[in-house]
């Protein structure tokens, strides 16, 4: 196929080129109004095309190539040690640029691979996008997999998976599979996601809904957050409501609304819930505060639980020296040695050695040595060990008062 050569530093006007086009460095090509090359285009250095360019294959080496219009490449686009700036739309099969690529119009290819920086002012559609450094896109991103080693600033997305090494700031939309971010994650609009794994900080400015969420550092959600499983190593804050299956908190977790779980809440650190907590089971090694907590099966408290309206569970167990402020309401309530509680309601209530309670209302109540209650009201049996004390005479009644919650 014939080759048209443009020598170094020259300026030419081209319309249709029948074969290949090869341009030396510092050339200026004027499109009439665009340049259509039937074969391949190769730039051996910096060049400016003052119009659109269409070709079969595109290659640029060592320099900056500026295309003032659309760049349409039938097959592959390759840039070696090259910066490519496209003022219009970009369309190619595969795009592979070492240094940086900037596109002002819509960009579309099966694959974008850019070593340094990929910038787009409008939409980008691809099967995969891989950027070594920074990826910035103002418009909608539609892709299967998106990876950036450094950082990403994106608008709304409709993608399958997203992996960013450093920091990402994005609009919203949908990531059907996983989001993996090493450093920081921020979404400004509602986001649906398959799973979210962030090493550092994660911030949702609007509602978030997804599967498992694993945050090493800080989670901050300004509205509601729905998830399957939530694990936070550091701090978490949801300003709306939280709904999900299981939650495990190593650090501190603050929900201003309600937290509704179909599974387990496990707290090694501290959890503060402004409204109601509802869960299948509860295990607290640290501290829980809530307006009320209703647990379907077992609540195990190794640390401290504070409720205004009470904690209700089928089985409540306070470990040694733990504390409960607010009523405890259970089927079975086991208070282990040295624990301190306020009012307790239950079918079977057991106060082990040195437990201190205020009022106890139960069908069957057992108090071990050194246990103390101010009042005991019961309907069935009361077992008082030697050394167990009750401030007022225990009262056996026909029926107990209505339990709270």
């Amino acid at each position: 196929m014939a080759e048209t050569r443009i020598p170094r530093g020259s300026q030419v006007r081209l319309g249709v080129v029948d074969g290949d086009l090869r341009a030396d460095q510092h050339v200026r090509i004027q499109g009439d109004p665009k340049v259509t090359v039937k074969g391949d285009v190769r730039f051996d250095g910096s060049a400016v095309v003052t119009g659109g360019l269409e070709c079969r294959r595109f290659r640029a080496d060592d320099g900056t190539v500026e295309i003032a219009g659309d760049l349409i490449v039938e097959e592959d686009l390759e840039g070696r040690d090259c910066t490519l700036e496209v003022a219009g739309a970009l369309k190619a099969r595969r795009v592979d640029v070492d240094r940086s690529l900037s596109v002002k119009g819509p960009a579309e290819a099966e694959k974008f691979e850019v070593g340094g920086v990929l910038e787009g002012s409008q939409t980008l559609t691809a099967r995969s996008v891989s950027v070594g450094g920074k990826f910035r896109l103002a418009g909608q991103l539609t892709a299967d997999s998106v990876e950036a080693g450094g950082s990403a600033e994106l608008g709304d997305v409709a993608i399958e998976s997203l992996s960013v090494g450093g920091a990402i700031r994005m609009g919203g939309g949908q990531v059907r599979g996983s989001i993996e971010v090493g450093g920081r994650f921020l979404t400004e609009r509602p986001l649906q996601f398959g799973s979210l794994d962030v090493g550092g900080l994660a911030e949702f400015r609007e509602d978030g809904r997804g599967g498992s969420v694993d945050i090493g550092g800080i989670l901050s959600a300004n509205k509601d957050l729905a998830f399957d499983d939530l694990e936070i190593g550091g701090l978490g804050r949801i300003q709306g409501n939280g709904t999900g299956r299981n939650v495990e908190i190593g650090g501190k977790f603050d929900v201003q609304g309600s937290l509704t779980l179909t599974g387990r809440l496990e707290v090694g650190g501290a959890v503060v819930i402004g409204e109601a907590l509802q869960a299948e089971s509860l295990e607290i090694g640290g501290k829980l505060e809530a307006r009320r907590a209703v647990i379907a099966s077992a609540a195990e408290i190794g640390g401290q639980v504070n409720t205004r309206e009470g904690l209700k569970a089928d089985r409540i167990r306070l470990e040694r020296k733990s504390r409960a402020y607010g009523p405890l309401v259970g089927g079975t309530v086991d208070l282990n040695r040295g624990s301190r509680v306020e009012d307790v309601y239950g079918e079977r209530i057991s106060l082990e050695e040195k437990v201190e309670a205020r009022r106890v209302f139960g069908a069957n109540v057992r108090m071990r040595e050194g246990a103390h209650a101010e009042e005991v009201t019961y309907t069935g049996t009361l077992e008082l060990a030697a050394g167990a004390t009750v401030s007022r005479p225990p009262q056996k009644v026909a029926s107990l008062p209505a339990f709270p919650l």
Partner: protein, 111 residues
């Protein structure tokens, strides 16, 4: 919570050696075994000569491995390198959470 100053690295004020390690490893990871030194230099924003020293060090430490592809070295992250990255980001998260709320430190010791 995110701002321009912090954009590049979680809580980065000054890039320590470990921050540079993480930057390079994150870039290499994106190439799935075919990371060329020039590509990594563009991704990490580091000149090739300086990067070459760093990469050699990462290879010696067992965080990267190198093999020849088409007669040129290509780098890949090792399982140990991935372990470094996971630990690095987790530790940065912990540090940031402690720095964000120094009065809210939580003791996991049972009271």
């Amino acid at each position: 919570m995110l701002n321009e100053r912090d954009e590049g690295r979680a809580g980065a004020k000054r890039r320590e050696a470990t921050d540079l390690f993480a930057t390079v490893l994150e870039v290499v990871k994106r190439y799935h075994g075919a990371a060329r030194i020039t590509r990594v230099s563009y991704g990490a924003g580091m000149p090739v000569d300086r990067l070459r020293n760093l990469v050699d060090r990462l290879v010696r430490l067992g965080l990267l491995r190198v093999e020849e592809i088409d007669g040129r070295p290509a780098y890949d992250i090792t399982p140990r390198g991935q372990e470094f990255l996971t630990t690095y980001w987790k530790m940065r998260g912990f540090i940031e959470s402690l720095e964000a709320n120094p009065d809210d430190r939580v003791s996991r010791r049972r009271s």
